[in-house]
Structures are given as C-alpha cells and as structure tokens.
Symmetry: C2
Subunit: 260 residues, 2 copies
Amino acid sequence: MLTITSKENAQIKNAVKLKKSAKYRKATQCFVAEGVRVCADAAYSGADILSLFSTQAAADKNPDSFALLSEKAEKTYMVPPELFALLSDTQTPQGFLCVIKALDKSADFDTIKNGGKFLALDNVQDPNNLGTILRSAEAFGVDGAVMSSDCCDVYNPKVVRGSMGAVFRLPILSVNSLSDWLSARPQLNTYAAVVEPSAVPVTKISFHTPCAVVIGNEGNGIRPETAAVCRHRITIPMNGKAESLNASVAAAVLMWEMVK
Amino acid sequence: MLTITSKENAQIKNAVKLKKSAKYRKATQCFVAEGVRVCADAAYSGADILSLFSTQAAADKNPDSFALLSEKAEKTYMVPPELFALLSDTQTPQGFLCVIKALDKSADFDTIKNGGKFLALDNVQDPNNLGTILRSAEAFGVDGAVMSSDCCDVYNPKVVRGSMGAVFRLPILSVNSLSDWLSARPQLNTYAAVVEPSAVPVTKISFHTPCAVVIGNEGNGIRPETAAVCRHRITIPMNGKAESLNASVAAAVLMWEMVK
C-alpha cells in the first residue's frame, strides 16, 4: 500500500485523464470505476483491477470492500480527500476508485443461434441514458447489447456508474457499422424503434426470436442506413401533448415488451 | 421591453432565488421555466407568465417563440449572455427563461369516479427522476399524479425541464399525507411497487380501475404507513445480478402496464 499526497503524482494524473478523456481510455485500454458498489461489481465480475485509490475514511467505513479490492488490485494507493476529489466524478465521493483494464467488447454473441434477445444502439450519445439503458437491459435479462462505435463511450464514468455494474456483466459488442452487422445476421428479427404514427404500436407486436430492439440517437433517431436494414418499425403509442419519451424510458419499455 | 445589465437588479436576484430555493418558490408562489420549448409549453398551457428574460441572440434565433412569450409575459427583460448565465440552470443556455405563477396543485382529481388511472409518488427525491416520471405519466395517458408534499419540489428547474412541459398539463396534486389521502379513497385500487420476491410480478396482474401505481423513495421505497394502506404489492421481475432498476424506469414500466 502506497500513500500519495501530490496531485502531480503520475498515477493521479493518469486516473484523472482516464476519467476525462475517451480518447485516452481508448489509447490505454483502461478506464475508471468509482464507488463502493461499482468497484465491488468489477472485482466480482473478474475484471482486471490495475489500481485502487481509496481515502482512509472510505477504507475505515467499508473494511470488507476495502479488503476485497486491495487484494484484487495490483496496487493500492491511499489518498487524502482533497486529492480524491480530483479523481472523482461525483459531488459526494464515496472514496473508492479503481483503474480497470478494458473488457473485451469484440466477442460476437453466441446466443443468437439459441434465439437470444438483444439490444442494438445506434449512436446513443447521452452517458446517463446509456448507463440506465444498460442497467435496464441486464435487469430484464437481455442477452447482449450491440453498439455502434460512435455511441457514447461505454467506459465514460457516468455510464459505468449509471449502469450499476451492468457494463461488467452484460455481453456488450462494439461495431463500426451497425447496419453492416445487422445485414450480416439476417436470422435476427430487427425491430427499429421510431416515433412515427405509421409504425406498428409495440402493443400489436409479437417479438419473434432471435430478435433485437434497435434504439437510435436521442435527437435524430436511428440512422437511415440502419433503419433500412431493420425488418420492423415499431413505436410506443403516446397520448396528449407529449411528443416523446426520455430515451432510456423508451428503450426500457421496448426491451420490457421484448423479454416479458 | 426593458434592458437589464446589472446582476444587482431586483428582477435578476428574484429569478436566481427562484431557481435555487424551493422555500423561496413556496413563499412567493412562483417558479422559473427555462428553454424555448418549455417556456412555449407554459404559454400554450395558459400559465400566468409574470416575466420573460431573453438574450438578444435567443430572440433573434427564435422570433416566433419570442413574440409569443413577450406577448404573454407581463414584463420582458433583455439581458446580456453573462447575466443570463446566472439565471440559467443549464450548461448551454438557450436564452429564454420565464418567471411563472405557481399552478394550483390542490384541486382533487374528479376522474377517480370515472375509473381513472393515477400515479402516486411517496417521497420521490431526485429531480431528474421526478421530471422523467411526470413526462412518462403524461405520455402514457395517466390521468393524474398525487405526490406526498415531501417529494422533490415539482417546480425545481430540473423537474420542470425534465418533464418536458408535463408539469403544465398533467393534473398534479400535492398532499401532506399520502396514506391519509389513499385511505380516504377506498374505491381506488392501489398497487404498491416494491422490490420483494414475495410481491406479485406485474406480469401476473390485471389492473382494475380506478387505480393507482404507488412509487416510493429511491433508496427507501414506499413508507410503511403508505404501504400499509395499499391493496396490492407488485414488483417487476428481474434477472441476474441486477438488484434494481432506475426509479424512473421502474415507474415507467409499471405505468405502462397499468395503461396499455
């Protein structure tokens, strides 16, 4: 166990950069996870924890989690609260942060042939939405999520935290072109979520497996080339003056209908 | 139309305080709404707009909305961008903000007798959750939302914005004691949302009208005294390691099942 007291320390600088920069995360193939629960999720899921940063107060308050994490982590650094605040992405830091090796997001799903149910995300941008969507996908028992590579980085700290650990457990695949990926899997019944009166209300749909619900960008929806390769266009019937649902709510309702 | 250039101006100070303080909003019975779309929603819903603050750039960019709002507002104030930033609750302000008279949240629902479908919120605290929940309630055609008075203030700027205008259109009732209110309405079939394996999965429920889904606090759930007066205990079946859903997602799925 090492103690760091300077914000100029290389490990601190590295963790801050991992928090802030998707480019740096990509280049180094590392990311950070913050919070007692999310760090423990990482440890239990078998992720490679390169380092643990903890405050003394957090270690004292959560002795079991601290013991688990400091055993799993290659290095453990104790830092004072004012230094931890630099690492943290939250307003009231819990005092645990791990630097973790990026998980393999290139392994294709082997569950398609078994009639799996999937989520496909086309340029979803908001990290809070993405975290919540992945959390819902796991909770509903979706078999995996395929994401276009221009979606918000799955290792954005807000996504990691908002997913409540789903990023560690849900099979996630990142692909350069979602339309190519879908085209190459014609056995997959694809249901594109759109906000159009001409689309079929999800209440009138029976999902046939293997299947995927396709969710698009918050403002612009699904890309035309992605929509073009989807078999069905579905929508959530809406009432009154409301023009749309929050993206994470819409995704949840459609996944719910797919899996229940 | 008046131009304000000092941050010491009384109108500016008033609007900033309305943004920040729930207590001040309650004392003055006013609140602020920010953004082109939300301000227009306020105008269309017939809310009393006491003042409009706008930047010149926003007025130039949205001439129709500016004309509408400055006509509806009793006073219109033009402010430079650096002053508008003080009023704003967003990182990239759109340049429109209205001070609005609080709406009447004490009128009881007259739709219970017609077999209405309602949402009851017991100490929901997070403004982003509350805004999203009200937005979903409106979109799904829920007849009204009853909220315990210790819920997050419905006029919190994050709630107003996140609701996408639903706070102006959805019948909302604030009550001191949700358990008293529910007890006094025995004709209402109440479905308390809980995270307990012993509760009935929502997939096995037929909602009987008039009915209400009851959603509790993000961390602590529904208060025992509220749960005690609910007729049914329902839950969303979950899979795997996920322990819970985001509160606004759980509320959306249950409302969806109630109304669809």
